[in-house]
Symmetry: C2
Subunit: 299 residues, 2 copies
Protein backbone atom coordinates (compact mmCIF):
# COMPACT_ATOMS: atom_id res chain seq x y z
CA UNK A 1 0.00 0.00 0.00
CA UNK A 2 1.42 3.34 -1.08
CA UNK A 3 1.10 6.77 0.54
CA UNK A 4 -1.28 7.61 -2.33
CA UNK A 5 -3.43 4.60 -1.59
CA UNK A 6 -3.67 5.39 2.12
CA UNK A 7 -4.80 8.91 1.24
CA UNK A 8 -7.54 7.49 -0.97
CA UNK A 9 -8.50 5.06 1.79
CA UNK A 10 -8.74 7.88 4.35
CA UNK A 11 -10.80 9.97 1.97
CA UNK A 12 -13.26 7.17 1.26
CA UNK A 13 -13.71 6.23 4.90
CA UNK A 14 -14.10 9.86 5.91
CA UNK A 15 -17.04 10.11 3.50
CA UNK A 16 -18.54 6.97 4.99
CA UNK A 17 -18.17 8.32 8.54
CA UNK A 18 -19.57 11.72 7.57
CA UNK A 19 -22.66 10.03 6.14
CA UNK A 20 -23.07 8.01 9.32
CA UNK A 21 -22.75 11.18 11.40
CA UNK A 22 -25.38 12.88 9.24
CA UNK A 23 -27.79 10.13 10.20
CA UNK A 24 -27.02 10.02 13.92
CA UNK A 25 -27.22 13.74 14.64
CA UNK A 26 -30.69 15.14 14.01
CA UNK A 27 -31.01 18.00 11.50
CA UNK A 28 -30.49 21.58 12.69
CA UNK A 29 -34.22 22.36 12.49
CA UNK A 30 -35.05 19.81 15.19
CA UNK A 31 -36.49 21.47 18.29
CA UNK A 32 -34.79 23.23 20.05
CA UNK A 33 -32.83 24.19 16.90
CA UNK A 34 -30.08 26.26 18.57
CA UNK A 35 -28.47 23.29 20.29
CA UNK A 36 -28.60 21.07 17.21
CA UNK A 37 -27.07 23.87 15.17
CA UNK A 38 -24.25 24.26 17.71
CA UNK A 39 -23.67 20.50 17.87
CA UNK A 40 -23.53 20.25 14.07
CA UNK A 41 -21.31 23.33 13.78
CA UNK A 42 -18.61 21.62 15.82
CA UNK A 43 -19.19 18.13 14.45
CA UNK A 44 -18.94 19.18 10.80
CA UNK A 45 -15.97 21.49 11.16
CA UNK A 46 -13.61 19.55 8.93
CA UNK A 47 -12.42 16.91 11.36
CA UNK A 48 -10.33 14.12 9.86
CA UNK A 49 -12.40 11.40 11.59
CA UNK A 50 -9.22 9.69 12.80
CA UNK A 51 -10.92 7.75 15.61
CA UNK A 52 -13.83 6.34 13.60
CA UNK A 53 -11.45 5.39 10.77
CA UNK A 54 -9.14 3.64 13.25
CA UNK A 55 -12.07 1.60 14.53
CA UNK A 56 -13.10 0.69 10.99
CA UNK A 57 -9.55 -0.19 9.87
CA UNK A 58 -9.10 -2.37 12.96
CA UNK A 59 -12.33 -4.26 12.33
CA UNK A 60 -11.28 -4.75 8.70
CA UNK A 61 -7.86 -6.00 9.77
CA UNK A 62 -9.72 -8.83 11.51
CA UNK A 63 -11.85 -9.58 8.47
CA UNK A 64 -15.06 -7.89 9.66
CA UNK A 65 -17.23 -5.75 7.41
CA UNK A 66 -17.52 -2.23 8.78
CA UNK A 67 -21.18 -1.50 7.94
CA UNK A 68 -22.66 -2.38 11.34
CA UNK A 69 -19.79 -0.57 13.06
CA UNK A 70 -20.65 2.82 11.57
CA UNK A 71 -22.98 4.05 14.34
CA UNK A 72 -20.34 3.07 16.91
CA UNK A 73 -17.61 4.79 14.89
CA UNK A 74 -19.85 7.86 14.77
CA UNK A 75 -20.28 7.76 18.53
CA UNK A 76 -16.48 7.92 18.90
CA UNK A 77 -16.47 11.13 16.86
CA UNK A 78 -19.34 12.59 18.91
CA UNK A 79 -17.29 12.00 22.05
CA UNK A 80 -14.14 13.44 20.51
CA UNK A 81 -16.11 16.54 19.44
CA UNK A 82 -17.74 16.97 22.86
CA UNK A 83 -14.28 16.98 24.44
CA UNK A 84 -13.02 19.65 22.02
CA UNK A 85 -16.05 21.88 22.62
CA UNK A 86 -15.67 21.70 26.42
CA UNK A 87 -11.87 21.98 26.38
CA UNK A 88 -12.09 25.16 24.28
CA UNK A 89 -14.38 26.91 26.79
CA UNK A 90 -13.20 30.19 28.36
CA UNK A 91 -13.00 28.57 31.81
CA UNK A 92 -10.81 25.80 30.33
CA UNK A 93 -8.24 26.30 27.53
CA UNK A 94 -10.00 29.47 26.33
CA UNK A 95 -9.38 28.86 22.63
CA UNK A 96 -11.01 31.15 20.09
CA UNK A 97 -10.15 29.09 17.03
CA UNK A 98 -10.32 25.43 16.18
CA UNK A 99 -9.56 24.03 12.74
CA UNK A 100 -9.36 27.59 11.46
CA UNK A 101 -12.92 28.48 12.53
CA UNK A 102 -14.21 30.29 15.61
CA UNK A 103 -14.86 27.81 18.42
CA UNK A 104 -18.38 26.79 19.40
CA UNK A 105 -18.65 29.21 22.33
CA UNK A 106 -17.40 32.11 20.20
CA UNK A 107 -20.31 31.56 17.82
CA UNK A 108 -23.10 30.33 20.10
CA UNK A 109 -22.07 31.60 23.53
CA UNK A 110 -20.73 29.80 26.54
CA UNK A 111 -23.99 28.33 27.84
CA UNK A 112 -24.88 26.85 24.48
CA UNK A 113 -21.37 25.43 24.04
CA UNK A 114 -21.60 23.66 27.41
CA UNK A 115 -25.01 22.29 26.43
CA UNK A 116 -23.90 21.33 22.90
CA UNK A 117 -21.02 19.39 24.46
CA UNK A 118 -23.39 17.70 26.90
CA UNK A 119 -25.73 16.98 24.00
CA UNK A 120 -22.98 15.37 21.94
CA UNK A 121 -21.80 13.24 24.86
CA UNK A 122 -25.29 12.04 25.72
CA UNK A 123 -26.07 11.46 22.04
CA UNK A 124 -23.09 9.09 21.81
CA UNK A 125 -24.63 6.89 24.50
CA UNK A 126 -28.10 7.18 22.97
CA UNK A 127 -26.59 5.70 19.81
CA UNK A 128 -24.52 3.05 21.61
CA UNK A 129 -27.65 1.75 23.34
CA UNK A 130 -29.89 1.86 20.27
CA UNK A 131 -30.80 -1.75 19.60
CA UNK A 132 -32.52 -0.90 16.32
CA UNK A 133 -29.45 0.72 14.85
CA UNK A 134 -27.15 -1.95 16.24
CA UNK A 135 -29.33 -4.98 15.66
CA UNK A 136 -26.49 -7.04 14.20
CA UNK A 137 -24.16 -6.59 17.19
CA UNK A 138 -24.80 -8.96 20.12
CA UNK A 139 -25.97 -7.02 23.22
CA UNK A 140 -23.14 -8.31 25.42
CA UNK A 141 -20.60 -7.17 22.88
CA UNK A 142 -22.31 -3.76 22.74
CA UNK A 143 -22.02 -3.45 26.51
CA UNK A 144 -18.28 -4.18 26.32
CA UNK A 145 -17.90 -1.62 23.53
CA UNK A 146 -19.90 1.00 25.45
CA UNK A 147 -17.84 0.40 28.58
CA UNK A 148 -14.64 0.81 26.58
CA UNK A 149 -15.79 4.18 25.26
CA UNK A 150 -17.26 5.44 28.55
CA UNK A 151 -14.07 4.65 30.49
CA UNK A 152 -11.89 6.33 27.86
CA UNK A 153 -14.11 9.39 27.93
CA UNK A 154 -14.52 9.75 31.70
CA UNK A 155 -12.46 10.45 34.81
CA UNK A 156 -10.08 7.56 34.11
CA UNK A 157 -9.57 8.82 30.57
CA UNK A 158 -10.09 12.15 28.84
CA UNK A 159 -11.72 13.99 31.77
CA UNK A 160 -8.82 12.95 34.03
CA UNK A 161 -6.31 14.08 31.39
CA UNK A 162 -7.95 17.47 31.02
CA UNK A 163 -8.05 17.92 34.82
CA UNK A 164 -4.29 17.34 35.12
CA UNK A 165 -3.63 19.48 32.03
CA UNK A 166 -5.60 22.38 33.57
CA UNK A 167 -3.84 21.99 36.89
CA UNK A 168 -0.43 21.94 35.21
CA UNK A 169 -0.89 25.28 33.48
CA UNK A 170 1.96 27.64 34.23
CA UNK A 171 3.70 24.98 36.33
CA UNK A 172 7.01 23.30 35.67
CA UNK A 173 5.60 19.80 35.11
CA UNK A 174 7.79 16.72 35.07
CA UNK A 175 7.83 14.15 32.29
CA UNK A 176 5.57 11.57 34.04
CA UNK A 177 2.91 14.28 34.38
CA UNK A 178 3.23 15.13 30.69
CA UNK A 179 2.87 11.44 29.92
CA UNK A 180 -0.23 11.17 32.09
CA UNK A 181 -1.82 14.10 30.28
CA UNK A 182 -1.00 12.62 26.86
CA UNK A 183 -2.09 9.06 27.55
CA UNK A 184 -5.37 10.28 29.05
CA UNK A 185 -6.32 13.40 27.12
CA UNK A 186 -5.51 12.04 23.64
CA UNK A 187 -4.29 8.47 24.07
CA UNK A 188 -7.29 6.98 25.83
CA UNK A 189 -9.83 7.53 23.04
CA UNK A 190 -7.41 6.49 20.30
CA UNK A 191 -6.65 3.28 22.18
CA UNK A 192 -10.38 2.78 22.73
CA UNK A 193 -11.13 3.34 19.04
CA UNK A 194 -8.80 0.49 18.09
CA UNK A 195 -10.18 -1.78 20.81
CA UNK A 196 -13.77 -0.98 19.87
CA UNK A 197 -13.12 -1.99 16.26
CA UNK A 198 -11.53 -5.20 17.53
CA UNK A 199 -14.34 -6.02 19.97
CA UNK A 200 -16.89 -5.39 17.22
CA UNK A 201 -15.08 -7.93 15.04
CA UNK A 202 -15.17 -10.52 17.84
CA UNK A 203 -11.40 -10.49 18.41
CA UNK A 204 -9.64 -13.12 20.55
CA UNK A 205 -7.69 -12.23 23.73
CA UNK A 206 -4.26 -12.47 22.15
CA UNK A 207 -5.02 -10.28 19.16
CA UNK A 208 -6.88 -7.79 21.38
CA UNK A 209 -3.74 -7.44 23.47
CA UNK A 210 -1.59 -6.84 20.38
CA UNK A 211 -4.04 -4.31 18.97
CA UNK A 212 -4.24 -2.54 22.32
CA UNK A 213 -0.46 -2.06 22.22
CA UNK A 214 -0.77 -0.83 18.65
CA UNK A 215 -3.41 1.67 19.80
CA UNK A 216 -1.25 2.89 22.66
CA UNK A 217 1.79 3.39 20.46
CA UNK A 218 -0.01 5.25 17.72
CA UNK A 219 -1.72 7.43 20.33
CA UNK A 220 1.73 8.37 21.58
CA UNK A 221 3.07 8.89 18.04
CA UNK A 222 0.09 11.12 17.34
CA UNK A 223 0.89 13.28 20.34
CA UNK A 224 4.59 13.60 19.62
CA UNK A 225 3.76 14.52 16.00
CA UNK A 226 1.28 17.14 17.22
CA UNK A 227 3.87 18.64 19.55
CA UNK A 228 6.43 18.80 16.74
CA UNK A 229 3.93 20.34 14.34
CA UNK A 230 3.15 23.04 16.88
CA UNK A 231 6.73 24.18 16.30
CA UNK A 232 7.48 23.39 12.66
CA UNK A 233 4.00 23.04 11.09
CA UNK A 234 2.27 25.47 8.79
CA UNK A 235 -0.74 27.27 10.22
CA UNK A 236 -3.04 26.08 7.43
CA UNK A 237 -2.14 22.46 8.19
CA UNK A 238 -2.77 22.52 11.92
CA UNK A 239 -5.74 24.94 11.95
CA UNK A 240 -4.43 26.92 14.89
CA UNK A 241 -1.60 29.35 15.52
CA UNK A 242 1.88 27.87 15.21
CA UNK A 243 3.66 27.96 18.53
CA UNK A 244 0.45 28.09 20.58
CA UNK A 245 1.78 25.52 23.06
CA UNK A 246 4.91 27.58 23.58
CA UNK A 247 2.89 30.76 24.02
CA UNK A 248 0.78 29.10 26.69
CA UNK A 249 3.93 27.82 28.40
CA UNK A 250 2.76 24.24 27.86
CA UNK A 251 5.32 21.50 28.23
CA UNK A 252 5.63 19.25 25.17
CA UNK A 253 7.89 16.45 23.94
CA UNK A 254 10.26 18.88 22.22
CA UNK A 255 10.52 20.99 25.38
CA UNK A 256 11.88 17.91 27.18
CA UNK A 257 13.87 16.25 24.42
CA UNK A 258 14.43 18.83 21.70
CA UNK A 259 13.17 18.59 18.15
CA UNK A 260 15.62 16.02 16.74
CA UNK A 261 15.25 13.60 19.63
CA UNK A 262 11.44 13.99 19.52
CA UNK A 263 11.52 13.01 15.84
CA UNK A 264 13.59 9.94 16.75
CA UNK A 265 11.13 9.00 19.46
CA UNK A 266 8.21 9.34 17.05
CA UNK A 267 9.92 6.92 14.67
CA UNK A 268 10.72 4.48 17.48
CA UNK A 269 7.14 4.51 18.68
CA UNK A 270 5.79 3.88 15.18
CA UNK A 271 8.23 0.97 14.83
CA UNK A 272 6.85 -0.47 18.05
CA UNK A 273 3.30 -0.05 16.75
CA UNK A 274 4.29 -1.98 13.61
CA UNK A 275 5.96 -4.68 15.69
CA UNK A 276 2.74 -5.18 17.65
CA UNK A 277 1.11 -6.23 14.38
CA UNK A 278 3.75 -8.82 13.47
CA UNK A 279 1.30 -11.74 13.73
CA UNK A 280 -1.31 -10.01 11.56
CA UNK A 281 -1.68 -10.72 7.85
CA UNK A 282 -2.02 -8.33 4.91
CA UNK A 283 -5.49 -7.28 6.05
CA UNK A 284 -3.69 -5.20 8.70
CA UNK A 285 -1.70 -3.27 6.09
CA UNK A 286 -4.01 -0.28 6.44
CA UNK A 287 -3.22 -0.15 10.17
CA UNK A 288 0.47 -0.31 9.32
CA UNK A 289 0.19 2.51 6.80
CA UNK A 290 -1.87 4.59 9.21
CA UNK A 291 0.88 4.31 11.81
CA UNK A 292 3.48 5.53 9.33
CA UNK A 293 1.15 8.24 8.05
CA UNK A 294 0.88 9.80 11.52
CA UNK A 295 4.53 10.85 11.53
CA UNK A 296 4.75 11.44 7.75
CA UNK A 297 3.96 15.12 8.35
CA UNK A 298 6.80 15.70 10.80
CA UNK A 299 9.70 14.48 8.65
CA UNK B 1 -49.33 2.69 54.42
CA UNK B 2 -49.22 5.81 56.56
CA UNK B 3 -47.28 9.07 56.07
CA UNK B 4 -45.03 7.84 58.89
CA UNK B 5 -44.35 4.58 57.10
CA UNK B 6 -43.52 6.29 53.80
CA UNK B 7 -41.02 8.48 55.64
CA UNK B 8 -39.36 5.40 57.10
CA UNK B 9 -39.36 3.77 53.66
CA UNK B 10 -37.72 6.83 52.08
CA UNK B 11 -35.14 6.96 54.83
CA UNK B 12 -34.22 3.29 54.46
CA UNK B 13 -33.97 3.43 50.68
CA UNK B 14 -31.94 6.63 50.81
CA UNK B 15 -29.39 4.81 52.97
CA UNK B 16 -29.31 1.95 50.46
CA UNK B 17 -28.78 4.33 47.54
CA UNK B 18 -26.10 6.29 49.41
CA UNK B 19 -24.20 3.06 50.02
CA UNK B 20 -24.48 2.16 46.34
CA UNK B 21 -23.22 5.62 45.37
CA UNK B 22 -20.28 5.24 47.76
CA UNK B 23 -19.25 2.14 45.84
CA UNK B 24 -19.72 3.53 42.32
CA UNK B 25 -17.86 6.80 42.77
CA UNK B 26 -14.17 6.26 43.54
CA UNK B 27 -12.81 7.77 46.78
CA UNK B 28 -11.62 11.38 46.79
CA UNK B 29 -7.96 10.33 46.97
CA UNK B 30 -8.14 8.66 43.55
CA UNK B 31 -5.89 10.37 41.01
CA UNK B 32 -6.51 13.14 39.99
CA UNK B 33 -8.07 13.85 43.42
CA UNK B 34 -9.50 17.31 42.67
CA UNK B 35 -12.12 16.04 40.25
CA UNK B 36 -13.19 13.16 42.48
CA UNK B 37 -13.49 15.58 45.38
CA UNK B 38 -15.65 17.92 43.30
CA UNK B 39 -17.82 15.05 42.05
CA UNK B 40 -18.32 13.74 45.58
CA UNK B 41 -18.98 17.23 46.96
CA UNK B 42 -22.00 17.60 44.70
CA UNK B 43 -23.12 13.99 44.88
CA UNK B 44 -23.14 13.85 48.69
CA UNK B 45 -24.75 17.22 49.26
CA UNK B 46 -27.88 15.96 50.97
CA UNK B 47 -29.94 14.98 47.93
CA UNK B 48 -33.14 13.09 48.66
CA UNK B 49 -32.37 10.41 46.02
CA UNK B 50 -35.87 10.75 44.58
CA UNK B 51 -34.99 9.24 41.18
CA UNK B 52 -33.16 6.14 42.46
CA UNK B 53 -35.92 5.52 45.01
CA UNK B 54 -38.58 5.83 42.30
CA UNK B 55 -36.77 3.21 40.23
CA UNK B 56 -36.50 0.89 43.24
CA UNK B 57 -40.14 1.37 44.29
CA UNK B 58 -41.29 0.69 40.73
CA UNK B 59 -39.27 -2.52 40.49
CA UNK B 60 -40.69 -3.59 43.86
CA UNK B 61 -44.23 -2.81 42.70
CA UNK B 62 -43.69 -5.48 40.06
CA UNK B 63 -42.34 -8.00 42.55
CA UNK B 64 -38.63 -7.62 41.70
CA UNK B 65 -35.92 -7.44 44.34
CA UNK B 66 -34.00 -4.19 44.11
CA UNK B 67 -30.48 -5.45 44.86
CA UNK B 68 -29.29 -5.80 41.26
CA UNK B 69 -30.92 -2.49 40.40
CA UNK B 70 -28.76 -0.45 42.78
CA UNK B 71 -25.93 0.40 40.36
CA UNK B 72 -28.54 1.54 37.83
CA UNK B 73 -30.37 3.56 40.47
CA UNK B 74 -27.03 5.12 41.37
CA UNK B 75 -26.41 6.03 37.73
CA UNK B 76 -29.71 7.94 37.72
CA UNK B 77 -28.46 10.02 40.64
CA UNK B 78 -25.09 10.63 38.93
CA UNK B 79 -26.95 12.01 35.92
CA UNK B 80 -29.25 14.13 38.06
CA UNK B 81 -26.20 15.54 39.88
CA UNK B 82 -24.30 16.25 36.65
CA UNK B 83 -27.29 18.26 35.41
CA UNK B 84 -27.41 20.31 38.63
CA UNK B 85 -23.66 21.05 38.51
CA UNK B 86 -23.80 22.23 34.89
CA UNK B 87 -27.09 24.13 35.30
CA UNK B 88 -25.65 26.07 38.25
CA UNK B 89 -22.64 27.31 36.24
CA UNK B 90 -22.14 31.08 35.83
CA UNK B 91 -22.79 30.85 32.08
CA UNK B 92 -26.06 29.02 32.80
CA UNK B 93 -28.34 29.72 35.80
CA UNK B 94 -25.47 31.26 37.79
CA UNK B 95 -26.56 29.88 41.15
CA UNK B 96 -24.28 30.32 44.16
CA UNK B 97 -26.17 28.00 46.47
CA UNK B 98 -27.71 24.57 46.14
CA UNK B 99 -29.24 22.67 49.05
CA UNK B 100 -27.96 25.37 51.38
CA UNK B 101 -24.30 24.90 50.38
CA UNK B 102 -22.12 26.80 47.91
CA UNK B 103 -22.44 25.28 44.42
CA UNK B 104 -19.67 23.17 42.92
CA UNK B 105 -18.12 25.99 40.87
CA UNK B 106 -18.14 28.33 43.86
CA UNK B 107 -15.94 25.86 45.74
CA UNK B 108 -13.82 24.30 42.99
CA UNK B 109 -13.93 26.87 40.21
CA UNK B 110 -15.71 26.87 36.90
CA UNK B 111 -13.35 24.59 34.95
CA UNK B 112 -13.46 21.92 37.64
CA UNK B 113 -17.25 22.13 37.86
CA UNK B 114 -17.58 21.58 34.11
CA UNK B 115 -15.20 18.61 34.37
CA UNK B 116 -16.88 17.21 37.50
CA UNK B 117 -20.20 17.33 35.64
CA UNK B 118 -18.64 15.62 32.63
CA UNK B 119 -17.07 13.07 34.99
CA UNK B 120 -20.40 12.30 36.65
CA UNK B 121 -22.18 11.92 33.32
CA UNK B 122 -19.52 9.64 31.87
CA UNK B 123 -19.35 7.67 35.11
CA UNK B 124 -23.07 6.91 34.82
CA UNK B 125 -22.46 5.20 31.49
CA UNK B 126 -19.34 3.44 32.78
CA UNK B 127 -21.58 1.88 35.42
CA UNK B 128 -24.47 1.12 33.05
CA UNK B 129 -22.12 -0.83 30.78
CA UNK B 130 -20.28 -2.66 33.58
CA UNK B 131 -21.13 -6.32 33.03
CA UNK B 132 -19.45 -7.38 36.27
CA UNK B 133 -21.58 -5.11 38.40
CA UNK B 134 -24.71 -5.91 36.41
CA UNK B 135 -24.15 -9.61 35.87
CA UNK B 136 -27.71 -10.52 36.83
CA UNK B 137 -29.37 -8.21 34.31
CA UNK B 138 -29.62 -9.57 30.74
CA UNK B 139 -27.49 -7.49 28.32
CA UNK B 140 -30.43 -6.67 26.03
CA UNK B 141 -32.38 -5.37 29.00
CA UNK B 142 -29.37 -3.29 30.05
CA UNK B 143 -29.21 -1.74 26.59
CA UNK B 144 -32.88 -0.77 26.82
CA UNK B 145 -32.30 0.70 30.29
CA UNK B 146 -29.22 2.62 29.12
CA UNK B 147 -31.09 3.98 26.13
CA UNK B 148 -33.93 5.12 28.37
CA UNK B 149 -31.51 7.06 30.59
CA UNK B 150 -29.40 8.48 27.75
CA UNK B 151 -32.45 9.81 25.89
CA UNK B 152 -33.86 11.37 29.07
CA UNK B 153 -30.51 13.01 29.78
CA UNK B 154 -29.72 14.29 26.28
CA UNK B 155 -31.02 16.75 23.70
CA UNK B 156 -34.48 15.16 23.66
CA UNK B 157 -34.63 15.33 27.44
CA UNK B 158 -32.84 17.38 30.05
CA UNK B 159 -30.36 19.13 27.74
CA UNK B 160 -33.24 20.22 25.48
CA UNK B 161 -35.18 21.46 28.51
CA UNK B 162 -32.24 23.48 29.78
CA UNK B 163 -31.69 24.99 26.32
CA UNK B 164 -35.27 26.25 26.14
CA UNK B 165 -35.13 27.39 29.76
CA UNK B 166 -31.99 29.43 29.06
CA UNK B 167 -33.49 30.92 25.92
CA UNK B 168 -36.68 31.87 27.75
CA UNK B 169 -34.92 33.93 30.39
CA UNK B 170 -36.37 37.40 30.60
CA UNK B 171 -38.94 36.57 27.93
CA UNK B 172 -42.69 36.42 28.29
CA UNK B 173 -43.00 32.67 27.63
CA UNK B 174 -46.34 31.05 26.89
CA UNK B 175 -47.72 28.05 28.74
CA UNK B 176 -46.71 25.41 26.12
CA UNK B 177 -43.11 26.61 26.42
CA UNK B 178 -43.27 26.35 30.21
CA UNK B 179 -44.65 22.83 29.78
CA UNK B 180 -41.84 21.90 27.41
CA UNK B 181 -39.26 23.12 29.92
CA UNK B 182 -40.89 21.18 32.75
CA UNK B 183 -41.43 17.90 30.92
CA UNK B 184 -37.85 17.95 29.64
CA UNK B 185 -35.78 19.58 32.37
CA UNK B 186 -37.36 17.71 35.29
CA UNK B 187 -39.99 15.38 33.88
CA UNK B 188 -37.83 13.33 31.53
CA UNK B 189 -35.52 11.81 34.15
CA UNK B 190 -38.36 11.17 36.62
CA UNK B 191 -40.31 9.37 33.91
CA UNK B 192 -37.16 7.47 32.95
CA UNK B 193 -36.51 6.48 36.57
CA UNK B 194 -39.92 4.82 36.76
CA UNK B 195 -39.48 3.14 33.38
CA UNK B 196 -35.99 1.93 34.25
CA UNK B 197 -37.28 0.26 37.41
CA UNK B 198 -40.02 -1.34 35.33
CA UNK B 199 -37.69 -2.54 32.57
CA UNK B 200 -35.33 -3.99 35.18
CA UNK B 201 -38.24 -5.99 36.59
CA UNK B 202 -39.10 -7.35 33.14
CA UNK B 203 -42.41 -5.47 32.87
CA UNK B 204 -44.98 -6.25 30.16
CA UNK B 205 -46.09 -3.66 27.57
CA UNK B 206 -49.40 -2.85 29.24
CA UNK B 207 -47.96 -2.26 32.69
CA UNK B 208 -45.05 -0.28 31.23
CA UNK B 209 -47.56 2.03 29.59
CA UNK B 210 -49.43 2.52 32.87
CA UNK B 211 -46.22 3.15 34.79
CA UNK B 212 -45.02 5.59 32.14
CA UNK B 213 -48.20 7.62 32.66
CA UNK B 214 -47.65 7.42 36.40
CA UNK B 215 -44.08 8.72 35.90
CA UNK B 216 -45.26 11.58 33.71
CA UNK B 217 -47.92 12.67 36.19
CA UNK B 218 -45.69 12.59 39.24
CA UNK B 219 -43.02 14.49 37.30
CA UNK B 220 -45.57 17.19 36.66
CA UNK B 221 -46.79 17.12 40.28
CA UNK B 222 -43.20 17.46 41.40
CA UNK B 223 -42.73 20.56 39.27
CA UNK B 224 -45.95 22.24 40.35
CA UNK B 225 -45.06 21.53 43.99
CA UNK B 226 -41.60 23.02 43.45
CA UNK B 227 -43.06 26.15 41.90
CA UNK B 228 -45.48 26.55 44.80
CA UNK B 229 -42.74 26.00 47.37
CA UNK B 230 -40.66 28.72 45.72
CA UNK B 231 -43.39 31.08 46.90
CA UNK B 232 -44.67 29.63 50.17
CA UNK B 233 -41.82 27.33 51.27
CA UNK B 234 -39.36 27.91 54.08
CA UNK B 235 -35.78 28.53 53.07
CA UNK B 236 -34.46 25.68 55.19
CA UNK B 237 -36.81 23.25 53.43
CA UNK B 238 -35.94 24.17 49.86
CA UNK B 239 -32.23 24.91 50.35
CA UNK B 240 -32.32 28.06 48.24
CA UNK B 241 -33.72 31.54 48.60
CA UNK B 242 -37.51 31.73 48.72
CA UNK B 243 -38.82 33.61 45.70
CA UNK B 244 -35.75 32.93 43.58
CA UNK B 245 -37.91 32.11 40.53
CA UNK B 246 -39.77 35.40 40.94
CA UNK B 247 -36.53 37.34 41.33
CA UNK B 248 -35.20 35.83 38.11
CA UNK B 249 -38.46 36.64 36.34
CA UNK B 250 -39.02 32.95 35.67
CA UNK B 251 -42.49 31.87 34.66
CA UNK B 252 -43.97 29.18 36.89
CA UNK B 253 -47.29 27.43 37.36
CA UNK B 254 -48.47 30.00 39.94
CA UNK B 255 -47.54 32.86 37.60
CA UNK B 256 -49.98 31.43 35.05
CA UNK B 257 -52.69 30.06 37.32
CA UNK B 258 -52.24 31.65 40.74
CA UNK B 259 -51.48 29.79 43.93
CA UNK B 260 -54.91 28.29 44.67
CA UNK B 261 -55.46 26.96 41.15
CA UNK B 262 -51.90 25.57 41.08
CA UNK B 263 -52.66 23.65 44.27
CA UNK B 264 -55.81 22.27 42.62
CA UNK B 265 -53.81 21.23 39.58
CA UNK B 266 -51.25 19.46 41.74
CA UNK B 267 -54.02 17.46 43.38
CA UNK B 268 -55.62 16.63 40.04
CA UNK B 269 -52.33 15.43 38.62
CA UNK B 270 -51.65 13.22 41.64
CA UNK B 271 -55.15 11.74 41.28
CA UNK B 272 -54.32 10.91 37.67
CA UNK B 273 -51.06 9.29 38.77
CA UNK B 274 -53.02 7.13 41.22
CA UNK B 275 -55.56 6.24 38.55
CA UNK B 276 -52.75 5.00 36.28
CA UNK B 277 -51.99 2.40 38.94
CA UNK B 278 -55.57 1.10 39.20
CA UNK B 279 -54.67 -2.37 37.88
CA UNK B 280 -51.72 -2.74 40.26
CA UNK B 281 -51.97 -4.65 43.53
CA UNK B 282 -50.84 -3.70 47.03
CA UNK B 283 -47.17 -3.98 46.01
CA UNK B 284 -47.67 -0.61 44.29
CA UNK B 285 -48.78 1.09 47.50
CA UNK B 286 -45.38 2.70 47.91
CA UNK B 287 -45.75 4.30 44.48
CA UNK B 288 -49.20 5.51 45.51
CA UNK B 289 -47.87 7.02 48.75
CA UNK B 290 -44.94 8.60 46.95
CA UNK B 291 -47.34 10.37 44.61
CA UNK B 292 -49.30 11.77 47.53
CA UNK B 293 -46.11 12.65 49.40
CA UNK B 294 -44.92 14.91 46.57
CA UNK B 295 -47.71 17.40 47.16
CA UNK B 296 -47.91 16.84 50.92
CA UNK B 297 -45.51 19.77 51.44
CA UNK B 298 -47.59 22.28 49.52
CA UNK B 299 -50.86 21.88 51.38
Amino acid sequence: MSAMEIKTYLHKKKDLVDKALESIVPPANTFPPSVFEAMRYSLFAGGKRVRPILAIATAESLGARPKGLLPIAGALELIHTYSLVHDDLPAMDNDDFRRGRPTCHKVYGEAMAILAGDGLLNRAFEILSDQKRLKDVPAKRMMAITREIAVASGVFGMVGGQVVDMESEGKDVDFPTLEYIHTHKTGALIRASVRVGALYAGVNEKKLKALTRYGEFIGLAFQIADDILDIVGKQEDIGKDVGSDLKKGKKTFPSFYGLAESRNRAHEVVDKALLSLKDFDAKADVLRELAKYIIYRVN
